[in-house]
Amino acid sequence: MKSIIVISTLLFVIASFMGIANYVQHNQSLSEKGLYASPQVPTFTSAEEETEQSLPTVAKQLQEPNTKVREEVVVPVPKKSAKSKTKKKEPQEVYHAAKKPREREINFKEFSRAPLDDYEALPAQATEVEVAESTKPTKVEEVK
């Protein structure tokens, strides 16, 4: 029976190391897909910040992380707004602005799993059109 304690301790330690290794690897793969860290975020103007519009490029990246063909919308930034004191939005803020948690209903039958939050589907197309109209992009590039 004591050998069980030894074997299980080894197993527990291995599981811990595997957890660390997989955690690092998983985070790296998310970063490569642009889902976790530093997604491309265009600069906001103060007017855009007031209306809190979503970003088309980020929304697109979130929806199609594996696509190789990417559309980049270049928004002209006026010098005044570039120098303005309005702070740049953090990637996390942009992510959460794009994915707003919905009101949840707890069903007693779902006791087995923690009623975890889920997000409404991204209104990607709608926001893209809205933002595209409001910002009037001058140039659309296709990057392979």
């Binding site: 299980s8 599981a15 957890g19 997989n22 998983h26 006791f111 975890l116």
Partner: protein, 221 residues
Amino acid sequence: MFSSTQQFFKSYFVQSLFWIPIIFFSGLLVFNTLPYFTFSKEYRFIQERILLFQLPFYSFCFYTHIAAGSFCIVSALLQFSSTILKSRKKIHVWSGRIYVLVVLLIGAPTGMFMAFFAKGSNMERGLFMVMALIWFYSTARGLQTVLEKNILAHKQWMMRSYAMAMTAVTFRIYHILFYYFGWSHLENYEISLWISVVGNIVFTEVILFFRDKKYIQSFTS
């Protein structure tokens, strides 16, 4: 005679108040875990972690963990029955052996692995890791003490182990209760998690402290 009968019913009533909700919620938890074994990805819990479920080892750990957890919760209920312990000791022994093996070889290691990907901040991930560690350690000590024929210490360590297994149940109870307080989801999740883990530990230690005079010795024996 009357006094002893009254005492009997009083203790029986108090015990029922404690055990009936535990049995009910444990059964409900296990029952609602069963659909996961269709291996469908449509469940919200899985949908939320769909990228993680692309890792084969994470999927393996998840399914083995919920199977092991369900088994532990059910089998542990048998272990606390004094009737089974007195009249059917073999059931207690074999159920206990399987519980210990499942916790040490499956439940705690897979729990430790999954803790790295748990929802919430690093504090919550750390809490899950500590939980897995306590679950593992208390079960191992429970096994060690029973091999040394130290029954009192064995009882105490196994109660600690069961307290950790029951966090799955108490977490869901708190989570549903706090939902009606109108707290935001993440706030509710984090508070429920901390209260269920810390609350179960404190509750068990309080029971042990008042039940056993040799409480302190249980840590050293």
